[in-house]
């Protein structure tokens, strides 16, 4: 399973949205038959203006929201049949303003390892964590530093790293680059690319800005409640 970086993607979708529909409380239709296939190792970017439903889509993929109609499949199984914690131990959503528990950087990175769904997973050593923090452009951040003292950009990178430590099948990132400078963006990009190639992790990134990755597998734009390939038509890569 998985795909060669840059090569054709042959595996079955990890996540599949079929004909999703959702209407906002004010009666405005948000999704009108939205379809999406997320393949193993795929790096997908979804763009669109604020309020078009990008965040809602990510939250639906992580089972925080439910569509009025349509189906979401995870490895071929409808989400209704998958316990939330089981899904979210593999499909990890990082919010635009990621939360932190009170304590140090180290504490925050190890928080998930205390959960039942990750209990059998080996904890990374402080050396491994140090190495990964350095790769994320956080060389000056000590493991015992309080998260209260971190900048918004550092917190965001920490949240991405916390998710990566769990080796997710799919990583759902909500505006991950918005609080980062160019150098930090490059570090995160490089880290995500490494995980995508080495572990076939699928990455779905939403942004209201222009595409952040130079050569994405697919850039999809939210348009009238559906996903269309950026600069193209429906049925491009990613949108089924």
């Amino acid at each position: 399973m998985g795909s060669e970086p840059g090569g054709p993607i042959l595996a079955a979708p990890v996540l599949q949205c079929i004909d999703l529909r959702l209407t906002l409380p004010d009666g405005r239709p948000l999704f009108q038959g939205l379809c999406l296939d997320i393949l193993p190792g795929q790096y997908l970017q979804i763009v669109g203006p604020s309020g078009c439903g990008k965040t809602t889509l990510l939250r639906m993929l992580a089972a925080f929201e439910r569509p009025e109609a349509g189906t979401i499949l995870w490895n071929g199984t409808p989400l209704e049949d998958v316990p939330g914690p089981v899904l979210r131990s593999s499909v990890i959503y990082v919010a635009q303003t990621p939360g932190m528990v009170a304590g140090t950087v180290h504490t925050n990175l190890l928080v998930p390892f205390g959960f039942r769904s990750h209990r059998n997973r080996p904890q990374p050593s402080p050396q491994e964590i140090r190495h990964l923090l350095d790769r994320m452009g956080m060389k000056d951040v000590a493991l015992d530093r309080s998260v209260q003292d971190l900048s918004a950009g550092q917190r965001h990178r920490l949240a991405v790293l916390r998710a990566l430590l769990l080796h997710p099948q799919v990583l759902l990132l909500d505006e991950p680059m918005s609080a980062l400078d160019r150098e930090s963006q490059a570090s995160v990009e490089s880290m995500l690319e490494a995980v995508r190639v080495q572990e076939a992790t699928s990455i779905v990134l939403v942004s209201h800005q222009e595409p952040v990755r130079k050569r994405p597998d697919a850039v999809l734009r939210m348009h009238l409640g559906r996903l269309v390939p950026e600069g193209g038509h429906e049925n491009g890569p990613g949108s089924s």
Binding site: A62, P83, G84, I92, A95, G99, F115, H118
Partner: protein, 262 residues
């Protein structure tokens, strides 16, 4: 053991004199524009009506000498308390009435039974002169504790929604994601009964002890009852809030453990 002085009866004219306190409250409300006159009127009317009805019903129940009416009356008291909690707690996104009622019925019966049967040693354990006043105190005090705990649970889950969802998104189940909120809610419910133990006998003389002393009981007997009551209230607020928060917390999350409170 009774002391020399018997209980002095309060007649209608004395009740009228006591109404002067309400007049004082109404006058204050009028002078300062507090808008409490209507509430004072209905509150006074309900106090008279509810307590007189209670007096007659209790007289009847005392005569029947059967556990059925005693337990039925106790059930109605708990139902009323659960209803008051429902109206006092403003949350409408979560249906908390039934779990609250079920927790109160189970928890308060156990506490009242333990006190009457084993601590006071009443024979039979349901003897209404003991079971209903003690049970009433359990319900009255724990009702406030449950309301406080529920308010804290809903408020904290809303306030800390980002943190709770962060934990959920990393694979936590609803219990793991809301563990801190759960503790805060239980603590909020328990603190008033613990504070009451700190101030009892110094800051205030509690109702039961006062009532017994007024009825001519030896203060040394009355304080023993009061000690039992204070300890019982800690037990009932603990058990009440624990059960209610434990059951209601699940309802704050959907089938996928997603937080329903926005």
């Amino acid at each position: 053991m009774r002391m020399d002085q018997a209980l002095l009866e309060i007649g209608p004219s004395q009740l009228l004199v006591a109404l002067g306190f309400i007049v004082l409250g109404a006058a204050t409300s009028l002078v300062h524009g507090l808008g409490l006159e209507r509430d004072l009127f209905w509150g006074t009317l309900r106090t008279f009506a509810q307590l007189f009805v209670m007096g007659y019903v209790l007289t009847l129940i005392f005569r029947v000498r059967h556990p059925g009416p005693v337990l039925a009356f106790y059930g109605v008291m708990i139902l009323s308390a659960a209803w008051i909690i429902r109206s006092r707690v403003s949350e409408r996104a979560v249906a908390f009435f039934l779990p609250t009622l079920a927790s109160m019925l189970a928890g308060y019966f156990v506490i009242t039974y333990v006190v009457t049967a084993f601590v006071v040693g009443v024979q039979p354990w349901w003897r209404p002169q003991y079971f209903l006043p003690l049970g009433g105190m359990v319900i009255g005090n724990s009702m406030n504790a449950v309301a406080i705990a529920l308010e804290r649970l809903f408020g904290e889950l809303r306030r800390r929604r980002g943190d709770v969802e962060m934990l959920l998104s990393l694979g936590a189940d609803y219990k793991e994601a809301s563990a801190e909120t759960f503790r805060a809610a239980i603590k909020a419910g328990m603190i008033p009964s613990i504070n009451a133990m700190m101030g009892v006998g110094i800051v205030f003389l509690p109702g039961m002890m006062t009532g017994q002393i007024l009825a001519g009981a030896d203060p040394l007997v009355a304080i023993r009852y009061q000690i039992v009551v204070m300890l019982m209230l800690v037990g009932s607020t603990t058990l009440g809030t624990l059960l209610v928060v434990w059951l209601v917390r699940r309802r704050c999350f959907g089938p996928k453990h997603e937080l329903l409170l926005r």
